[in-house]
């Protein structure tokens, strides 16, 4: 059995780092099968929770100006005002907000980034296998999102896609319908996936860049005179 509180404690120092995904995958391997993993992640508050309301945060004492928010990073929203590769996406589709919460404050930015959330229907040819993979968090560019309260009965689950980013005007995003927020653990997993996808530091890439830097004679070095005159001679 996976203890979510213990898992959250392990993720806390690793949050937003690639190691966090490994911790989650290890925890998933402790469970016997897809059904057990699904039952863990589909609990209310495990990955997702009701949209976190600013009024609720205020009641809990978060009243300073920097605590103000309309949306939080990772919030799941429905909108028809987002664009992907120049196309406006209709069909009241779902998205996760990619921007950091502090950039989602009105007047701080003009545009925001969204990640697509595609529904997996029970009748989809690969539904069982896809769900099996998703609940293990085994794909680097897909994150499991359970079936949400406003999803129809034909939906088995949702997949958050990191391959491809949508854009939306900030003012339109403020009017989007909030479906859910991520739990603390869900937000840590989401942030790790996002960082892993956008800015992963591959040791081989570090080696390539170091080797290239060492092998290149930069123009400034080439043009510099072999024995620069001493600037400090009196």
């Amino acid at each position: 059995m996976v203890d979510l509180n213990e898992l959250e404690r392990q993720l806390s120092p690793l949050s937003h780092s690639p190691e966090a995904i490994e911790v989650v995958r290890r925890a998933c391997r402790e469970l016997a099968n897809t059904t057990e993993r699904m039952n863990l992640w589909n609990r209310a508050g495990a990955l997702v929770c009701a949209p976190i309301q600013p009024e609720h945060a205020k009641e809990l004492g978060f009243t300073s100006p920097e605590d103000a928010f309309v949306l939080l990073q990772g919030d799941i929203v429905r909108t028809e005002s987002a664009y992907f590769m120049g196309e406006r996406i209709t069909g009241n589709s779902k998205y996760a907000v990619l921007n950091s919460s502090c950039d989602l404050v009105p007047t701080r930015s003009s545009y925001a980034l969204l990640l697509r959330i595609a529904p997996i229907k029970r009748t989809d040819e690969q539904a069982s296998q896809t769900m099996g993979h998703l609940v293990k968090f085994s794909c680097n560019n897909l994150m499991y999102i359970p079936k949400l309260p406003d999803d129809s009965e034909e939906i088995a689950c949702n997949e958050l896609q990191l391959d491809g980013i949508c854009q939306i005007r900030h003012s339109d995003l403020m009017l989007a319908s909030r479906v859910a927020s991520l739990s603390l653990i869900g937000w840590r997993i989401f942030a790790s996936f996002a960082r892993n996808f956008i800015a992963r530091a591959n040791p081989r890439e570090v080696a390539i860049r170091e080797a290239v830097a060492a092998s290149v004679i930069w123009p400034a070095a080439r043009e510099a005179p072999p024995n620069p005159p001493d600037q400090h001679t009196s």
Partner: protein
């Protein structure tokens, strides 16, 4: 012969934007002439607003239209397309003003070219929903030993 699936995206229409734009089909909904009348109607009153219906609440604070969130999102989405179109229309208007002031061949051509840009695109490109990613054969094989069946499984949903 397998029938060709209908395109979900205007970009799939091979260079033609020939799809007929869907209309919002908003229809008049219920009318409440006081807040008390609205309060008494409660949830049932809201549920009785017909699909795509626009209800009207007249009360001391003013007149308010009530629509479902799904219709509201469609309206905001269309409004964001209108803002995109405005940019193109402004270019045509500017070209038209210049052509009136200087009706020479170059300026008439500029007007025609900019008008053609808009005429080629009566509907801005859009796509319905998101497609799920496809698993590779290897990924499918990895899951072959799990007996989970999404068609019949009891799938709990977090609720609040």
């Amino acid at each position: 012969m397998t029938p060709k699936p209908s395109p979900t995206s205007t970009s799939e229409l091979a260079g033609s934007y020939g799809m007929v734009a869907s209309t919002l089909e908003l229809v008049p909904g219920l009318v409440w002439n006081s807040f008390e009348e609205f309060r008494k109607a409660g949830n049932d009153g809201l549920a009785n607003i017909p699909p795509h219906g626009v209800a009207l609440l007249n009360c001391k604070a003013g007149s308010y239209r009530i629509i479902r969130d799904v219709d509201f999102q469609r309206l905001v989405g269309l409004a964001s397309d209108v803002i995109r179109l405005q940019g193109g229309v402004n270019i045509v208007m500017q070209a038209a003003r210049i052509a009136i002031k200087h009706p020479d061949e170059d300026h008439i051509k500029l007007l025609l070219d900019s008008a053609r840009l808009i005429a080629q695109c009566p509907e801005l490109p859009q796509r319905v929903g998101h497609e799920p990613a496809r698993l590779t054969d290897e990924e499918l094989r990895e899951q072959s030993e799990d007996d989970f069946d999404a068609k019949t499984a009891e799938i709990p949903s977090p609720s609040w």
